[in-house]
């Protein structure tokens, strides 16, 4: 298996690990947004969706898979940043950017912002310790679950300060995807000019859509359009 070790530890192999884990996390982010947009369908539908997810036997395998992808993504990023710093020990006195979007320059810092947000978000909406009025799912006595995800979401985001933190994180996520989705296509070998333009536009659109969709939830709650039943 030396070939696999050699491949995965090469600069391109590490980028491929980053691209594949990024692709998986990108898929999760889309599904997560679509799931959460059901908050606009009302408390009953949203809580039923939450109960279906919580009672799903695939819940823990999916969580472990996601955690694995986050570690693979961060691990490859950390390894590459260390190499990159070593590759230019002495910097320039004067430097001008020749091209490159704003998004690409925020990848590393934005990634750290997202990591901090993921930790906070899990404590806030999954574990509940960072949430004043968090209610866990309960057995409904008939083998099913009764969940309060709608109440948790609305009471958790009613505070404008909390909603602002969520919005900042979603903008960071949008920027990360606007470069990341395009970049992962190139890393996986889709650099042909035909696919390149498509990938660039798809990345921008997905980044924008995810930011808009997730921010819409926070804004609707702060504005009182989505309220407690």
């Amino acid at each position: 298996m030396t070939w696999l070790k050699q491949f995965l530890s090469s600069s391109i192999g590490l980028k491929i690990v980053m691209a594949l884990s990024g692709l998986g996390l990108f898929g999760f982010v889309i599904a997560h947004m679509l799931g959460n947009l059901q908050v606009f369908l009302g408390a009953e539908k949203f809580n039923a969706y939450a109960a279906m997810m919580q009672g799903n036997p695939l819940l823990w395998p999916a969580r472990i898979g996601l955690l694995g992808m986050i570690f693979a993504h961060m691990g490859s990023a950390a390894a590459l940043v260390l190499r990159s710093n070593k590759a230019r020990p002495t910097g320039y006195k004067s430097h001008q950017w020749l091209s490159g979007s704003y998004a690409v320059r925020t990848m590393r810092f934005g990634g750290l912002v997202l990591l901090a947000f993921i930790v906070y978000h899990l404590l806030h909406m999954t574990v509940g310790t960072a949430h004043g009025e968090f209610r866990h799912c309960m057995s409904d006595g008939a083998g099913g679950l009764t969940c309060f995800a709608y109440q948790n979401l609305v009471s958790g985001l009613m505070n404008p300060a909390v909603a602002s933190a969520y919005i900042v994180a979603q903008v960071a996520l949008g920027l990360h995807l606007a470069h990341g989705v395009w970049s992962l296509c190139r890393t996986l070998g889709l650099g042909n000019p035909r696919y390149d333009l498509l990938a660039r536009r798809a990345a921008l659109s997905f980044g924008g859509l995810i930011t808009a969709g997730n921010c819409a939830i926070a804004i609707a709650i702060v504005a009182g359009l989505v309220k407690l039943p």
Binding site: K93, S99, G100
Partner: protein, 250 residues
Amino acid sequence: MDLTLNIWRQTSKDSAGNFETYQLKDINEHMSFLEMLDVLNEQLEGQGKEPVAFEHDCREGICGSCGLMINGAPHGHLPRTTTCQLHMREFKHGDNITIEPFRAGAFPVLKDLVVDRSALDRIVQAGGFISVRTGSAPDANAVPVPKDEADRAFDAATCIGCGACVASCPNAAAMLFTGAKVTHLGLLPQGQPERYDRVTKMVHQMDKEEFGHCSNFGECTVACPKGIPLDVISQMNRDLLVAQLKGRSA
């Protein structure tokens, strides 16, 4: 025009360097950037000082020797231009110009503005060649090459190995350089037998030289005096993936 130059001076590979400021008067706008440095060196020699060491050879924009970081851009701010083809008419009277060597761990500074770019040669030695006798030039059309692949191979083959891609890359990566060689030889029929061994060996050597990785900033393709497109990097990534599927290793 009168200019103020801030130039990196370093006496040898192991010594510490620093920036020195020089004043130049009455520089002709038709001079090339290197001719302007020649004037500076004559002035320095006249004063009994050590002239500024910089690399140059053809002064026609095709040899790749004259790589300088000029005001934070490799070969200066003018697109698709080598330092020797950059003329002083691109600057204004009273300009302050900072001139630095190309910076990368793999490009140690030898003296002043001269860096050792042998790391790029070692990447080529690892696989950037075709190991069969090519003989004399074949008859036209004896070996069919699809037009678009011939064009892409030719675009990649225009690389002059100056190292501007490495100099401009925030990660000091040699991906555009290596990708250009991999694409140039890998797309042509003569390069097919060694295509997948070549890419694994060249990428392995590139990593061994401690160049960085590609974050798709795209600085390299803008800095490249030959405008080599970014898709050569993606071609290299794809060839490396296929090489794994074919069971090739370095």
